[in-house]
Amino acid sequence: MRNITLIVIVSVAVILASVLIGPKIISPFSIDDISKQVIVAIRLPRVIVALLMGCALGASGAVLQGILRNPLADPYILGISSGAALVAVMGILLGSTALGLLTVPVFAFVGAIVTGLLVGAMGYKKGGLLPERLLLAGVGLGFLFSAVLMMILSVSTDEGLRRAVLWVYGDLSMADWSLIPYGLFFIIVGLTISLLRAKGLNALMLGDDIAYSLGFSPDSERALLFVSVGLMTASAVSLGGIVGFVGLLVPHIVRFIAGSDGRVLIPLSALMGGTLLCFADTVGRTVMAPMELPSGIITAIIGAPYFLYLLRKKDVLGERK
């Protein structure tokens, strides 16, 4: 309980700090009109987008590692992000402005959902989604889409190229209030489904037969959880591109601290994922200002060493000592 309280306190502090810290540090005790403008128009939407993305990635990583029974699964392993990236980058390079600011997010969301449906269809056999098939279908489609994406990027000389590359590594600089309601809606739906099915997720991790014996229908539990992951990942990717590490490692860090019960793991992974991405984005837009480092690079640089440290210290993957 003490650990959980600590996570919550640290998270709130980091989120508040990321509103105040940036190329210009704003003191909370002397906010003038310009600072107010900066906070409302630039910082706040960006912090909220980072928070939403991180929440979605953390929670969907926690769920996905459970339904695939694979500690190395992250939300991108299902190829959803590659599909999103392919369609979004095509949108960027074609210079499409059909939907204004929402063009790239909508393209990405459509790419993500279509890929999710394809992976689901390929992973479906004998009346249910089979974890191994889902995983392989996701990896296969992901490779295919990434290859096509790289092909398009490598022959492109368009001025959108830099933006496309940045987007692929997580670009929150386009964050805007207009994006937030859509992201919020799908992430809340996904998070709610996964929280309501958290007991089912726990049971699935013991194997389908035991889950059945405990009163669950393994196929429908897995399908619902897959839908929740698909919605959250699609929303995250469409909000700000591909940010690595958060979905893979945040759930593991939460497991060390608070255990593996999905009812604690999912909400805490969401909170910690959101906090980590807020922090990474703040660092990314501050350290080399006015240049920005993509958040995905920062999360990996901060997170990977911490994870490796924990790996040495604790039994991460549930293997025998």
């Binding site: 991790m205 013991l206 405990l214 593996s260 549930g318």
Partner: protein
């Protein structure tokens, strides 16, 4: 071979995995408060029969009734309060702590039943292990964690697939005693796939399976004969009757 009705009644079920019949016109009836052992060679269909009786596998033909109602008509949670199943293979590297895993036995319930996590843990000798991670435990301890979860689930019918595997002889005997205690308190019924024929003498009824068919059933003392063992397992043994009513084998 028809059986009279019990609380779990399996009638004329057949099932195949796609490559020949795994279970053929099988009948089995479980009465309240009885212990049934299912024995047979590897691949004879013991596990398949337990999974069919649990509802995990759906029979191609025949019917299964639980308390007079078709098994498939029960809602999952209602069924889980009446019948539970523990598979043979549990070598899953789950990241849960002992307490977290055992507590899952309460999932079918909104209101906690009488049995507590602590009681279930002490019943299987896991006191003081509640915060251990499953992956840090030995094979036998892991099995006992799952047994404790099943006890906490508190169903009246337990379908157990070789639960004694990788348990020390001391825990095998303690586990059977524990089940007998539960039977005298709550009249539970047990159907257990068994590897060790010697353990069959603790059961009221023995069902011998070969190629998915019942080849013998009845009181273990009269059912276990050298002819039956030759037919079921394809080995010749000599059977010695002991003074205490048990049997020992000479190979």
């Amino acid at each position: 071979m028809k059986e009279p009705g019990g609380i779990l009644k399996v009638s004329d079920i057949s099932f195949s995995y796609g490559n020949g019949k795994a279970v053929n016109d099988l009948n089995m009836s479980v009465e309240g408060g009885t212990f049934t052992a299912v024995i047979g060679a590897n691949g004879s269909g013991k596990s398949t029969i337990l999974k069919l009786a649990a509802g995990i596998l759906k029979p191609a033909s025949g019917s299964i009734e639980l308390w007079g109602q078709p098994l498939e008509s029960y809602k999952g949670r209602d069924r889980a309060k009446l019948i539970s199943y523990l598979p043979q293979l549990l070598d899953i590297n789950v990241p849960f702590k002992v307490r977290e895993l055992i507590n899952m036995g309460l999932y079918p319930y909104d209101i906690r039943p009488e049995m507590t996590t602590e009681l279930a843990m002490s019943m299987v000798g896991l006191d003081g292990k509640s915060e251990s991670v499953i992956s840090e435990l030995s094979g036998g301890e892991r099995r006992r964690v799952f047994i404790a979860m099943t006890l906490l689930q508190g169903a009246g019918i337990l379908l157990l697939d070789e639960p004694l595997a990788n348990l020390d002889i001391q825990f095998q005997i303690e586990f059977i005693k524990l089940l007998e205690e539960l039977r005298s308190k709550r009249s539970i019924s047990v159907v257990m796939a068994l590897h060790d024929i010697n353990m069959a003498f603790h059961f009221d009824k023995l069902i011998v399976i070969r190629n998915g068919e019942v080849i013998a059933s009845g009181d273990p003392r009269s059912t276990i004969t050298s002819e039956m063992i030759l037919e079921a397992f394809g080995v010749k043994v000599k059977i010695y009757h002991q003074d205490d009513g048990t049997i020992s084998f000479g190979y």
